[in-house]
Protein backbone atom coordinates (compact mmCIF):
# COMPACT_ATOMS: atom_id res chain seq x y z
CA UNK A 1 0.00 0.00 0.00
CA UNK A 2 1.11 3.51 -0.73
CA UNK A 3 -0.16 6.63 1.02
CA UNK A 4 0.56 10.11 -0.23
CA UNK A 5 -0.06 13.34 1.63
CA UNK A 6 -0.49 16.26 -0.77
CA UNK A 7 0.33 19.70 0.55
CA UNK A 8 2.41 22.74 -0.24
CA UNK A 9 3.92 22.98 3.21
CA UNK A 10 1.23 24.68 5.31
CA UNK A 11 0.70 23.83 8.97
CA UNK A 12 -2.36 21.69 8.26
CA UNK A 13 -0.42 19.63 5.73
CA UNK A 14 2.24 18.80 8.30
CA UNK A 15 -0.44 17.80 10.78
CA UNK A 16 -2.01 15.44 8.25
CA UNK A 17 1.37 13.87 7.54
CA UNK A 18 1.90 13.23 11.25
CA UNK A 19 -1.60 11.75 11.51
CA UNK A 20 -0.92 9.46 8.55
CA UNK A 21 2.32 8.27 10.15
CA UNK A 22 0.54 7.45 13.37
CA UNK A 23 -2.24 5.62 11.52
CA UNK A 24 0.31 3.53 9.64
CA UNK A 25 2.10 2.63 12.87
CA UNK A 26 -1.20 1.64 14.46
CA UNK A 27 -2.28 -0.48 11.50
CA UNK A 28 0.89 -2.57 11.64
CA UNK A 29 0.83 -2.82 7.84
CA UNK A 30 3.73 -2.23 5.54
CA UNK A 31 2.91 1.09 3.95
CA UNK A 32 4.97 3.47 1.90
CA UNK A 33 4.33 7.08 2.93
CA UNK A 34 5.18 9.98 0.71
CA UNK A 35 4.74 13.72 1.19
CA UNK A 36 4.04 15.40 -2.14
CA UNK A 37 4.93 19.07 -2.10
CA UNK A 38 5.37 19.69 -5.82
CA UNK A 39 2.41 21.77 -6.90
CA UNK A 40 2.42 20.32 -10.40
CA UNK A 41 2.18 16.79 -9.03
CA UNK A 42 -0.60 17.85 -6.68
CA UNK A 43 -2.52 19.21 -9.63
CA UNK A 44 -2.14 15.98 -11.52
CA UNK A 45 -4.36 14.47 -8.87
CA UNK A 46 -7.01 17.11 -9.68
CA UNK A 47 -6.75 18.42 -6.13
CA UNK A 48 -7.17 22.16 -5.52
CA UNK A 49 -7.58 22.25 -1.76
CA UNK A 50 -4.80 20.98 0.44
CA UNK A 51 -4.01 18.96 2.47
CA UNK A 52 -5.25 15.93 0.59
CA UNK A 53 -4.82 12.23 1.22
CA UNK A 54 -4.19 9.75 -1.56
CA UNK A 55 -4.23 5.98 -1.04
CA UNK A 56 -2.88 3.79 -3.85
CA UNK A 57 -3.35 6.60 -6.35
CA UNK A 58 -6.94 7.38 -5.32
CA UNK A 59 -7.87 10.71 -3.70
CA UNK A 60 -9.85 9.95 -0.54
CA UNK A 61 -9.96 13.33 1.16
CA UNK A 62 -9.24 16.96 0.29
CA UNK A 63 -8.94 20.23 2.13
CA UNK A 64 -8.94 18.96 5.69
CA UNK A 65 -6.97 17.32 8.46
CA UNK A 66 -8.25 13.85 9.24
CA UNK A 67 -8.14 11.98 12.53
CA UNK A 68 -6.02 8.83 12.96
CA UNK A 69 -9.19 6.71 12.99
CA UNK A 70 -10.45 8.27 9.79
CA UNK A 71 -7.18 7.50 8.03
CA UNK A 72 -7.32 3.92 9.36
CA UNK A 73 -10.87 3.58 8.03
CA UNK A 74 -9.74 4.73 4.58
CA UNK A 75 -6.87 2.26 4.68
CA UNK A 76 -9.26 -0.62 5.28
CA UNK A 77 -11.49 0.25 2.33
Amino acid sequence: MKIEVLGTGCAKCKTLEAVAKEAIAKSGLFVQLEKVEDIMKIMEYQVVSTPALVIDGKVVSTGKVLSVDEVLAFMKK
Partner: protein
Protein backbone atom coordinates in the same frame (compact mmCIF):
# COMPACT_ATOMS: atom_id res chain seq x y z
CA UNK B 1 -34.49 35.80 28.74
CA UNK B 2 -30.71 35.63 28.79
CA UNK B 3 -30.60 39.43 29.05
CA UNK B 4 -32.88 39.36 32.13
CA UNK B 5 -30.84 36.64 33.81
CA UNK B 6 -27.62 38.59 33.39
CA UNK B 7 -29.30 41.81 34.56
CA UNK B 8 -30.61 40.02 37.64
CA UNK B 9 -27.24 38.46 38.42
CA UNK B 10 -25.26 41.70 38.04
CA UNK B 11 -27.65 44.22 39.54
CA UNK B 12 -29.51 42.18 42.15
CA UNK B 13 -27.19 39.36 43.21
CA UNK B 14 -23.82 41.11 42.94
CA UNK B 15 -25.32 44.58 43.47
CA UNK B 16 -22.98 46.22 40.97
CA UNK B 17 -23.81 49.70 39.77
CA UNK B 18 -22.60 52.48 37.50
CA UNK B 19 -20.08 52.22 34.69
CA UNK B 20 -18.37 49.16 36.13
CA UNK B 21 -21.59 47.22 36.52
CA UNK B 22 -22.66 48.15 33.03
CA UNK B 23 -19.35 47.06 31.54
CA UNK B 24 -19.37 43.69 33.35
CA UNK B 25 -23.01 43.11 32.47
CA UNK B 26 -22.28 43.81 28.82
CA UNK B 27 -19.21 41.58 28.89
CA UNK B 28 -21.00 38.55 30.32
CA UNK B 29 -24.11 39.01 28.20
CA UNK B 30 -22.22 39.44 24.94
CA UNK B 31 -19.55 36.79 25.45
CA UNK B 32 -21.98 33.96 26.08
CA UNK B 33 -24.41 35.11 23.43
CA UNK B 34 -21.64 35.22 20.82
CA UNK B 35 -20.12 31.90 21.87
CA UNK B 36 -23.49 30.22 21.61
CA UNK B 37 -24.21 31.71 18.18
CA UNK B 38 -20.75 30.91 16.89
CA UNK B 39 -21.00 27.27 17.86
CA UNK B 40 -24.49 26.90 16.38
CA UNK B 41 -23.82 28.69 13.11
CA UNK B 42 -20.38 27.20 12.50
CA UNK B 43 -21.79 23.73 13.08
CA UNK B 44 -24.65 24.26 10.62
CA UNK B 45 -22.39 25.84 7.98
CA UNK B 46 -19.70 23.20 8.29
CA UNK B 47 -22.31 20.43 8.03
CA UNK B 48 -23.66 21.95 4.81
CA UNK B 49 -20.13 22.32 3.56
CA UNK B 50 -19.41 18.63 3.73
CA UNK B 51 -21.46 18.45 0.53
CA UNK B 52 -19.19 20.83 -1.33
CA UNK B 53 -15.48 21.05 -1.79
CA UNK B 54 -13.25 23.22 -3.89
CA UNK B 55 -12.82 20.42 -6.44
CA UNK B 56 -16.59 20.35 -6.88
CA UNK B 57 -16.66 24.13 -7.38
CA UNK B 58 -13.93 23.90 -9.98
CA UNK B 59 -15.76 21.24 -11.96
CA UNK B 60 -18.88 23.40 -11.97
CA UNK B 61 -17.14 26.61 -12.98
CA UNK B 62 -15.46 25.02 -15.93
CA UNK B 63 -16.59 26.29 -19.31
CA UNK B 64 -18.98 28.93 -17.96
CA UNK B 65 -19.18 32.29 -19.77
CA UNK B 66 -17.37 35.16 -18.11
CA UNK B 67 -20.03 37.20 -16.31
CA UNK B 68 -22.10 34.13 -15.39
CA UNK B 69 -18.89 32.53 -14.15
CA UNK B 70 -18.16 35.54 -11.91
CA UNK B 71 -21.63 35.37 -10.36
CA UNK B 72 -21.43 31.62 -9.84
CA UNK B 73 -17.90 31.83 -8.39
CA UNK B 74 -18.95 34.52 -5.91
CA UNK B 75 -21.95 32.42 -4.81
CA UNK B 76 -19.81 29.30 -4.42
CA UNK B 77 -17.52 31.41 -2.25
CA UNK B 78 -20.22 31.54 0.43
CA UNK B 79 -20.45 27.81 0.88
CA UNK B 80 -16.85 26.68 0.46
CA UNK B 81 -14.30 27.00 3.21
CA UNK B 82 -11.21 28.98 2.42
CA UNK B 83 -7.78 28.74 3.87
CA UNK B 84 -5.15 31.09 2.52
CA UNK B 85 -2.72 28.15 2.60
CA UNK B 86 -4.75 26.62 -0.25
CA UNK B 87 -4.60 29.76 -2.39
CA UNK B 88 -1.82 28.49 -4.68
CA UNK B 89 -3.23 25.09 -5.62
CA UNK B 90 -6.60 26.77 -6.00
CA UNK B 91 -5.35 29.46 -8.31
CA UNK B 92 -3.27 27.14 -10.48
CA UNK B 93 -5.92 24.43 -10.45
CA UNK B 94 -8.50 26.87 -11.76
CA UNK B 95 -6.18 27.98 -14.56
CA UNK B 96 -5.55 24.36 -15.38
CA UNK B 97 -9.30 23.93 -15.81
CA UNK B 98 -9.31 26.91 -18.21
CA UNK B 99 -11.36 29.03 -15.80
CA UNK B 100 -10.64 32.72 -16.58
CA UNK B 101 -8.60 34.49 -13.88
CA UNK B 102 -11.38 37.05 -13.37
CA UNK B 103 -13.70 34.23 -12.30
CA UNK B 104 -11.01 32.83 -10.01
CA UNK B 105 -10.65 36.25 -8.37
CA UNK B 106 -14.41 36.46 -7.82
CA UNK B 107 -14.06 33.25 -5.84
CA UNK B 108 -10.92 34.44 -4.03
CA UNK B 109 -12.69 37.64 -2.93
CA UNK B 110 -16.00 36.09 -1.95
CA UNK B 111 -14.75 33.01 -0.12
CA UNK B 112 -12.83 34.65 2.76
CA UNK B 113 -15.29 37.55 2.96
CA UNK B 114 -18.27 35.24 3.48
CA UNK B 115 -16.59 33.09 6.07
CA UNK B 116 -18.70 31.42 8.73
CA UNK B 117 -17.13 33.28 11.63
CA UNK B 118 -17.90 36.70 10.17
CA UNK B 119 -21.43 35.68 9.25
CA UNK B 120 -22.15 34.16 12.67
CA UNK B 121 -20.90 37.27 14.45
CA UNK B 122 -22.70 39.70 12.18
CA UNK B 123 -25.93 37.80 12.57
CA UNK B 124 -25.60 37.63 16.33
CA UNK B 125 -24.53 41.22 16.90
CA UNK B 126 -26.12 43.24 14.12
CA UNK B 127 -29.15 41.16 13.16
CA UNK B 128 -30.17 39.64 9.85
CA UNK B 129 -30.59 42.92 7.94
CA UNK B 130 -26.97 44.03 8.32
CA UNK B 131 -25.84 40.45 7.65
CA UNK B 132 -27.84 40.39 4.42
CA UNK B 133 -26.40 43.78 3.39
CA UNK B 134 -22.89 42.56 4.17
CA UNK B 135 -23.30 39.36 2.13
CA UNK B 136 -25.14 41.10 -0.71
CA UNK B 137 -22.61 43.87 -1.16
CA UNK B 138 -19.75 41.47 -0.53
CA UNK B 139 -21.00 39.42 -3.47
CA UNK B 140 -21.28 42.58 -5.55
CA UNK B 141 -17.63 43.47 -4.83
CA UNK B 142 -16.60 39.91 -5.68
CA UNK B 143 -18.56 39.81 -8.95
CA UNK B 144 -17.65 43.29 -10.19
CA UNK B 145 -14.06 43.09 -8.89
CA UNK B 146 -13.48 39.72 -10.55
CA UNK B 147 -15.10 40.89 -13.77
CA UNK B 148 -12.93 44.03 -13.94
CA UNK B 149 -9.75 42.04 -13.24
CA UNK B 150 -10.80 39.66 -16.01
CA UNK B 151 -11.25 42.58 -18.45
CA UNK B 152 -7.74 43.86 -17.69
CA UNK B 153 -6.24 40.81 -19.41
CA UNK B 154 -3.60 40.20 -16.77
CA UNK B 155 -3.00 36.53 -17.52
CA UNK B 156 0.65 37.21 -18.34
CA UNK B 157 1.22 38.22 -14.70
CA UNK B 158 0.69 34.67 -13.57
CA UNK B 159 4.29 33.60 -13.06
CA UNK B 160 3.84 29.88 -13.28
CA UNK B 161 3.25 28.10 -16.52
CA UNK B 162 0.28 25.84 -16.21
CA UNK B 163 -0.73 23.56 -19.01
CA UNK B 164 -4.47 23.79 -19.53
CA UNK B 165 -5.89 20.33 -19.50
CA UNK B 166 -7.89 18.84 -22.29
CA UNK B 167 -11.52 17.90 -21.96
CA UNK B 168 -13.89 18.06 -19.04
CA UNK B 169 -12.95 17.54 -15.43
CA UNK B 170 -14.23 14.68 -13.46
CA UNK B 171 -15.28 15.49 -9.95
CA UNK B 172 -13.11 14.10 -7.23
CA UNK B 173 -15.83 12.03 -5.58
CA UNK B 174 -15.64 11.61 -1.87
CA UNK B 175 -18.59 9.83 -0.35
CA UNK B 176 -19.58 10.30 3.26
CA UNK B 177 -22.40 9.02 5.42
CA UNK B 178 -24.53 11.40 7.50
CA UNK B 179 -22.72 10.19 10.58
CA UNK B 180 -19.38 11.08 8.98
CA UNK B 181 -20.69 14.51 8.10
CA UNK B 182 -21.91 15.22 11.63
CA UNK B 183 -18.60 13.99 12.99
CA UNK B 184 -16.70 16.19 10.58
CA UNK B 185 -18.84 19.25 11.33
CA UNK B 186 -18.35 18.62 15.05
CA UNK B 187 -14.56 18.37 14.74
CA UNK B 188 -14.42 21.43 12.55
CA UNK B 189 -16.61 23.48 14.90
CA UNK B 190 -14.55 22.43 17.90
CA UNK B 191 -11.26 23.33 16.20
CA UNK B 192 -12.50 26.71 14.95
CA UNK B 193 -14.04 27.57 18.31
CA UNK B 194 -10.84 26.66 20.13
CA UNK B 195 -8.85 28.93 17.88
CA UNK B 196 -11.11 31.98 18.19
CA UNK B 197 -12.85 32.00 21.57
CA UNK B 198 -10.06 34.01 23.16
CA UNK B 199 -10.23 36.63 20.41
CA UNK B 200 -13.96 36.92 21.01
CA UNK B 201 -13.26 37.35 24.71
CA UNK B 202 -10.68 40.07 24.03
CA UNK B 203 -12.92 41.82 21.50
CA UNK B 204 -15.91 41.82 23.81
CA UNK B 205 -13.72 42.81 26.76
CA UNK B 206 -12.35 45.89 25.04
CA UNK B 207 -15.83 46.54 23.70
CA UNK B 208 -17.24 46.38 27.23
CA UNK B 209 -14.71 48.96 28.45
CA UNK B 210 -15.63 51.27 25.59
CA UNK B 211 -19.28 50.60 26.28
CA UNK B 212 -18.94 51.49 29.93
CA UNK B 213 -16.33 54.26 29.92
CA UNK B 214 -15.74 56.02 26.62
CA UNK B 215 -18.29 58.73 25.78
CA UNK B 216 -20.16 58.54 22.49
CA UNK B 217 -19.03 61.94 21.19
CA UNK B 218 -15.41 60.77 21.35
CA UNK B 219 -16.09 57.86 18.95
CA UNK B 220 -18.40 59.95 16.81
CA UNK B 221 -15.70 62.58 16.35
CA UNK B 222 -13.22 60.03 14.98
CA UNK B 223 -15.36 57.41 13.27
CA UNK B 224 -18.66 59.23 12.80
CA UNK B 225 -20.07 61.69 10.32
CA UNK B 226 -17.67 64.45 11.36
CA UNK B 227 -14.70 62.64 9.88
CA UNK B 228 -14.97 62.47 6.06
CA UNK B 229 -11.96 60.14 5.80
CA UNK B 230 -13.29 57.61 8.31
CA UNK B 231 -14.11 54.99 5.65
CA UNK B 232 -10.67 55.12 4.03
CA UNK B 233 -8.88 54.96 7.38
CA UNK B 234 -11.13 52.06 8.43
CA UNK B 235 -10.24 50.07 5.27
CA UNK B 236 -6.50 50.69 5.67
CA UNK B 237 -6.70 49.64 9.32
CA UNK B 238 -8.63 46.51 8.38
CA UNK B 239 -5.96 45.05 6.07
CA UNK B 240 -3.46 43.87 8.73
CA UNK B 241 -6.22 42.48 10.96
CA UNK B 242 -6.86 39.44 8.84
CA UNK B 243 -8.29 36.36 10.53
CA UNK B 244 -9.20 38.37 13.59
CA UNK B 245 -12.81 38.86 12.53
CA UNK B 246 -13.66 37.07 15.78
CA UNK B 247 -12.17 39.83 17.89
CA UNK B 248 -12.84 42.75 15.58
CA UNK B 249 -16.56 42.38 14.94
CA UNK B 250 -17.65 42.57 18.62
CA UNK B 251 -15.58 45.72 18.85
CA UNK B 252 -17.21 47.19 15.76
CA UNK B 253 -20.64 46.54 17.24
CA UNK B 254 -19.81 48.72 20.23
CA UNK B 255 -18.29 51.42 18.06
CA UNK B 256 -21.41 51.46 15.90
CA UNK B 257 -23.61 51.76 18.98
CA UNK B 258 -21.45 54.70 20.03
CA UNK B 259 -21.78 56.68 16.84
CA UNK B 260 -19.58 55.04 14.21
CA UNK B 261 -21.54 55.10 10.95
CA UNK B 262 -22.75 51.78 9.58
CA UNK B 263 -21.08 52.29 6.20
CA UNK B 264 -17.73 52.82 7.90
CA UNK B 265 -18.32 49.69 10.00
CA UNK B 266 -19.22 47.62 6.92
CA UNK B 267 -16.13 48.78 5.02
CA UNK B 268 -13.94 48.02 7.98
CA UNK B 269 -15.29 44.50 8.42
CA UNK B 270 -15.05 43.75 4.71
CA UNK B 271 -11.44 44.95 4.67
CA UNK B 272 -10.64 42.71 7.64
CA UNK B 273 -11.99 39.59 5.92
CA UNK B 274 -11.35 40.19 2.19
CA UNK B 275 -7.95 41.89 2.15
CA UNK B 276 -5.37 39.78 3.84
CA UNK B 277 -1.64 40.38 3.89
CA UNK B 278 -0.69 36.74 4.54
CA UNK B 279 -2.75 35.69 1.53
CA UNK B 280 -1.00 38.32 -0.61
CA UNK B 281 2.38 37.01 0.53
CA UNK B 282 1.40 33.48 -0.43
CA UNK B 283 0.03 34.52 -3.81
CA UNK B 284 3.22 36.47 -4.49
CA UNK B 285 4.95 33.16 -5.14
CA UNK B 286 2.90 32.64 -8.28
CA UNK B 287 1.54 36.09 -9.19
CA UNK B 288 3.36 39.22 -10.24
CA UNK B 289 3.15 42.03 -7.71
CA UNK B 290 1.24 44.10 -10.30
CA UNK B 291 -1.59 41.61 -10.37
CA UNK B 292 -1.74 41.42 -6.57
CA UNK B 293 -1.71 45.21 -6.32
CA UNK B 294 -4.52 45.41 -8.87
CA UNK B 295 -6.48 42.84 -6.88
CA UNK B 296 -6.05 44.77 -3.62
CA UNK B 297 -6.67 48.09 -5.32
CA UNK B 298 -9.93 47.07 -6.97
CA UNK B 299 -11.31 45.31 -3.89
CA UNK B 300 -10.19 48.20 -1.66
CA UNK B 301 -11.86 50.79 -3.87
CA UNK B 302 -15.03 48.71 -4.07
CA UNK B 303 -15.20 48.41 -0.28
CA UNK B 304 -14.56 52.12 0.20
CA UNK B 305 -17.30 52.97 -2.32
CA UNK B 306 -19.75 50.78 -0.40
CA UNK B 307 -18.85 52.51 2.86
CA UNK B 308 -19.47 55.98 1.46
CA UNK B 309 -22.64 54.88 -0.30
CA UNK B 310 -24.07 53.62 2.99
CA UNK B 311 -22.99 56.59 5.02
CA UNK B 312 -24.62 58.79 2.41
CA UNK B 313 -27.87 56.83 2.19
CA UNK B 314 -28.49 56.14 5.87
Amino acid sequence: MWKESVDYFIYDVLKLEGHGGEAINFFIYDTFKIWFLLITIIFVVSYLRTHFNTEYVRAHLQGKSELYGNVLAALFGIITPFCSCSAIPLFLGFIQARIPIGVTFSFLISSPMNNEIAIALLFGLFGWKVTAIYIGFGLLVAIVGGFVIGRLKMERYVLMDVKPMQGELEEVKISLTTKDRVQEAYTYTRDIFKSIYLYVLAGVGIGALIHGYIPADFIAAYAGAQNPFAVIIAVLMGIPMYSNAAGVIPLVEVLTAKGMLLGTALSFMMAVTALSLPEAMILKKILHIKLIATFFGIVGLGIIAIGYLFNFLL
